[in-house]
Symmetry: C2
Subunit: 426 residues, 2 copies
Amino acid sequence: MALDVNVDNRDKYLSLVDNEHAANQLKMFPHVVNIFMAFLSYLVTLRVIPMLKDKFIKANLFGIDMSKTTSDKVPESLGVVSGFIFLVTMVLFIPVAFENSLLEKDAFPYDEYVKYILALLSICCMLLLGFADDVLDVPWRQKLLLPTIASLPLLMVYYVSFNTTSIIVPKPFREWLGVSLDIGIIYYVYMGMLAVFCTNAINILAGVNGLEAGQSVVIAISIAIFNLLELSGPLWKAHQFSLYFMWPYIGTSLALLKHNWYPASVFVGDTFCYFSGMTFAVVGILGRFSKTTLLFFIPQVFNFLYSFPQLMKLIPCPRHRLPKFNSRTDKMECSTTVFQYSELSVLGKIVISLFRVFRLIRWEEKNGVVVTNNFTLINLVLLYFGPMHEAKLSTVLLGIQFLCTLLAFVIRYPFASVFYDVYSVN
Amino acid sequence: MALDVNVDNRDKYLSLVDNEHAANQLKMFPHVVNIFMAFLSYLVTLRVIPMLKDKFIKANLFGIDMSKTTSDKVPESLGVVSGFIFLVTMVLFIPVAFENSLLEKDAFPYDEYVKYILALLSICCMLLLGFADDVLDVPWRQKLLLPTIASLPLLMVYYVSFNTTSIIVPKPFREWLGVSLDIGIIYYVYMGMLAVFCTNAINILAGVNGLEAGQSVVIAISIAIFNLLELSGPLWKAHQFSLYFMWPYIGTSLALLKHNWYPASVFVGDTFCYFSGMTFAVVGILGRFSKTTLLFFIPQVFNFLYSFPQLMKLIPCPRHRLPKFNSRTDKMECSTTVFQYSELSVLGKIVISLFRVFRLIRWEEKNGVVVTNNFTLINLVLLYFGPMHEAKLSTVLLGIQFLCTLLAFVIRYPFASVFYDVYSVN
């Protein structure tokens, strides 16, 4: 009898162990499937892009690579292909992501679910607008509007579903502002601006084979690593949500990068920059780690601030600011802008003096005529390291992006604790 | 004292009346805003289309109207514009549609909400694919795949959220099958097929100025009237959901129709047919009245069945089956196909004999060479009523669509009760 009870207990114990084991497996299962689907999406994108190249050229969607000796037509905006395969992958993943939840109907995570579909809607909207932009060639200033329109679903659904516009106040300011502060409508403006920033920041750090897709992949990997680190934390659900999106994004974009790497057989198009920026903005906002997301954009933020005087026409801006291709040496060189120093506004003079002090520009002056490099990160790299081959230039720039990710992690982990409690940073 | 109590009671009574009144107003309020926004979307679409015409022509998106004496470039696939404005309108309407629900957080109608965002996602996917098709010119057979891909979100989310695949069995079969029957995966196949059918059915009843947009508007109005009739029934929520989509759809499509009506200054493109078909399929499926939706497609179903022998090459099919424009009379005439009777397969001979018996074709034979009209509803109308002006032809076809809607209501209301109990028809 005593033996029987023991056996019973052992069975119970084993079944408990089994259950616990099963629960762990269930938790891992979607991630395994997700990574497997990401790998499949990589293979599909790799195969489909070459099949569609001719169709794109026939549809007038092509460009001439200005940094090559040949003038072949290179199909443009293939980002719509990788973006669409990403979208289909994410749709097919829905039953896996939410299957477990079916078992306990009452505890169905509607919040998560709405977020997921909403993210897909925003990304799909941005893909549509990006592709329309590539086809119809929207003027520069109207381009800024497009991400704002595409982020409307995000703002509307956020308003109805969540509408938590409180932020955690950094420690030094808590004496005046309290621990958390409801910033109301400013939060919505911030969300809209984040989408506009992320999309355009990638778009203006561009023009070298493999750079747009490359930097996006580095950012995506950075976000994925951050999510993995936080997966054991209390906000693991939000990070799991983000991870689900990152692997397939990395898969499809890597395939695109392979075709876009030097010598590029396809261009990614504005479509890709919009689509990528929107994906990062959406996971950052819905995962509540938008500040950390921005940390992975350090090179883009620098490039934007550095470009700002030229974009605002404080310093004359030529039609193209891409580095110059020297066909004799097969290397890329700094491109320059030429202007009369006396024609600059006071603000322009101040800005350019600051840039000179911090050695951010090359400066040649003769009889009041000034020659400087164009203010882009790409030109700055060429300025410091000298002319180099396009593939090497792209590699160096991606190296910088990678180093900035390391810097971002240093800022995020050791430094952030000065301003925030652990786990309240987002 | 007694007086005081009376006053108190009267106040209470008044406040009760007020509350009831307020509740009624709240119910009406979203519909009023919806119709107002639909009207605005009409005005915006009307204004925006002419502004974008040149951009479309410049992007190589144009066609030559074969039924005109001039050979001006007519911008093509403007349906992407009306579709996108529809999408933005529906997004902006989210806070209105779900505002009330914010008050009672526990009773938030997540099912409705997921349906709404999901519908937008499916429609957005279809717009993107449709536009890509117009730009890249996908081959005919691959076109059939596109709506299937765009309906993936619908199938996936339906699986996770609802997964009710039971249908009500018609009365005569209940003895064998019971009152309701779970048809499982067949239900998903049905949903996918419905999307494919609705999109392509509109696409093949086309080729006359104003016909694609016109028939879609008639179908949308039919659905809206049906929804209004059912709004007082027990399934009012589903019909309210559908109505929310129909008014803005009618608004934007009417504006497109105005530009597409004879003489067309824009063409709607495959984009529009896909987008429209998907919108009807989505409200039909999510509103659970897909059978009734199909009833509004009687002319399309007839046209499809009538075209089938030519589409399947049982009867030789020329590249274009559009009616012929006679520039001398300024009228449209039946277009014809010529073939050797002896070259037809047995099946072809049977089909053509049936069509002759039912007087569905004109038949001219000389020495074994046969001349018949092409098998489209448009040619059939020209066969019966004689050559007519393009605008009149379009009007007659829309008139037929309207008469078929009346027929649909006769089938839906008096006849359906033979097969189903009241209110169980969907």
